[in-house]
């Protein structure tokens, strides 16, 4: 980037966004106008959108990993230890802020106020909406980039591993290379892989979206064609088995995204091709 004294001063949103800036964008920590200016650039650049998707994914993963702790009952012995210690401490010389509450120890007697929940000033801790969806997206992304290493032949097939092995099998590769959306292939073990559609990641970069059903582990996968003509798994998500039909959608059902969409978001900006475009791309040998 040359420095031309006649140009206007470079605004932050005009610079090539670095990782810290992309992180701040993903964390929604940028000033609104900077974020608004940056958004179209990110959307137009698969590399930038992948980075942003990763920052979102790792945050979502951490939230999903540790937020359940909030729902756990606090162990009685922890509370007891704290109360015992509090009883042993002399009264604080600091002035009381307000009349003492006695709800916890005294039970719910008439007139007793509930303990003051101090944390309520930060609604983010209570905002559980979309958590499961976020986890689905994170998992898709995480597994998408590690599938190669997750398929050691010696280990017993954990659900995801078997799913990964399944979609990297030869019949599925052939389906991805030659299939038309709506076609499916039956695999040993009772699984069926259905070709859902073709996605375009950028000029001459095509991906196929697949659904695995009927086997031990249902799931969705996106395979993106490499320059060498292989179809490595780029993203993969295992779906919750049939006895839990609502899958990744939380009970509230507020989420408009489904796992398929989560999966696409994890890969980055993708365009769904119609049947003609799909046929044309296949006829060109996916180039």
């Amino acid at each position: 980037m040359s420095h031309n004294p006649e140009t206007k001063p470079v605004k932050p949103e005009d610079r090539e966004p670095d990782d810290t800036m992309l992180m701040a964008f993903a964390d929604e920590a940028l000033p609104p106008e900077t974020a608004a200016a940056l958004a179209p650039r990110i959307a137009a650049d698969p590399q930038l959108s992948t980075k942003v998707a990763r920052f979102k994914a790792d945050r979502a993963l951490l939230r999903a990993a540790f937020d359940p702790v909030l729902e756990e009952p606090v162990p009685d012995r922890l509370v007891a230890a704290i109360r015992a210690r509090a009883a042993a401490e002399p009264a604080s010389p600091a002035p009381a802020r307000r009349p003492a509450l006695r709800a916890i120890e005294g039970g719910e007697g008439p007139g007793s106020a509930p303990p003051a929940p101090v944390a309520t000033t930060r609604p983010i801790a209570l905002r559980r909406r979309g958590l499961s969806f976020a986890l689905a997206a994170s998992l898709a992304l995480l597994l998408g980039f590690t599938v190669g290493r997750l398929v050691p032949s010696s280990e017993p097939p954990a659900p995801t591993l078997s799913l990964a092995a399944l979609v990297e099998s030869e019949p599925v590769r052939a389906l991805a290379e030659q299939g038309t959306s709506g076609e499916s292939v039956a695999l040993a073990g009772g699984a069926t892989v259905l070709l859902l559609g073709t996605l375009e990641r950028g000029p001459g970069r095509y991906c196929r979206e697949l659904e695995v059903s009927g086997g031990p582990q249902p799931g969705l996968a996106i395979l993106c064609r490499s320059a060498e003509g292989t179809w490595p798994v780029t993203a993969l998500v295992a779906l919750v088995p049939a006895e839990a039909p609502s899958g990744f959608a939380p009970a509230g059902g507020e989420i408009e995204h489904d796992p398929a969409e989560a999966l696409r978001e994890a890969v980055g900006s993708l365009r769904l091709l119609d049947r003609e475009a799909e046929a044309a791309a296949r006829a060109r040998g996916w180039r």
């Binding site: 920590a29 909030l70 009381a96 509450l101």
Partner: protein, 178 residues
């Protein structure tokens, strides 16, 4: 001790436990850290300025206690199986077959982070503090928060996400990996 203060402390326990869980390697270690933090808080309650945020004050104690522990235990504790270390039940209470694998990776990745980076990561990505709140909590400039956070997440990407990504470009993915 003022019952009021104690009650507020107890009300903060879920958040303190979540924070501690992300910093430590087991449920026991986390709860021990939380108990330690609360005892410290009770012993020093006189130093707490009423009307200021109790959560910030407690988190500051917690992170100091944890950093002390990190310094003391250069020796690594015994490994705890991930099923015991973390709840692997999904947010809606269902067990998710994927969680265990990813949690295992996530946990090892967190363990490799330098303590200062891990603190920033947990404050922002687990507790949901803003960059500014994190800077105040740790008493460091906001730019340092961002650089530590970016480094921590780059490391997470590398360890949890993408170690094979580059090689995948050069190697057909369906060739069995040993």
């Amino acid at each position: 001790m003022e019952p009021n203060f104690t009650n507020e402390l107890v009300a903060m326990l879920p958040r303190l436990r979540r924070f501690a869980r992300a910093l430590t390697r087991s449920v026991e270690e986390a709860d021990d850290l939380v108990q330690d933090t609360c005892e410290r808080a009770l012993a020093n309650a006189a130093r707490y300025t009423p009307g200021t945020r109790l959560d910030s004050w407690l988190f500051r104690i917690l992170q100091n206690r944890w950093l002390d522990r990190c310094r003391q235990s250069a020796t690594r504790g015994q490994e705890v199986p991930v099923e015991e270390a973390y709840e692997v039940v999904g947010a809606d209470g269902r067990r998710d077959g994927l969680n265990l694998i990813v949690m295992n990776r996530l946990r090892s990745a967190l363990d490799t982070l330098p303590p200062e980076q891990r603190l920033v990561l947990v404050a922002v990505c687990v507790d949901g503090l803003s960059y500014k709140e994190t800077a105040e909590l740790l008493d460091i400039p906001i730019g340092t928060v961002m650089s530590r956070l970016a480094r921590a997440r780059a490391q997470l990407h590398e360890l949890v996400l993408a170690t094979e990504e580059d090689q995948r470009e050069e190697r057909p993915a369906h060739v069995a990996q040993s």
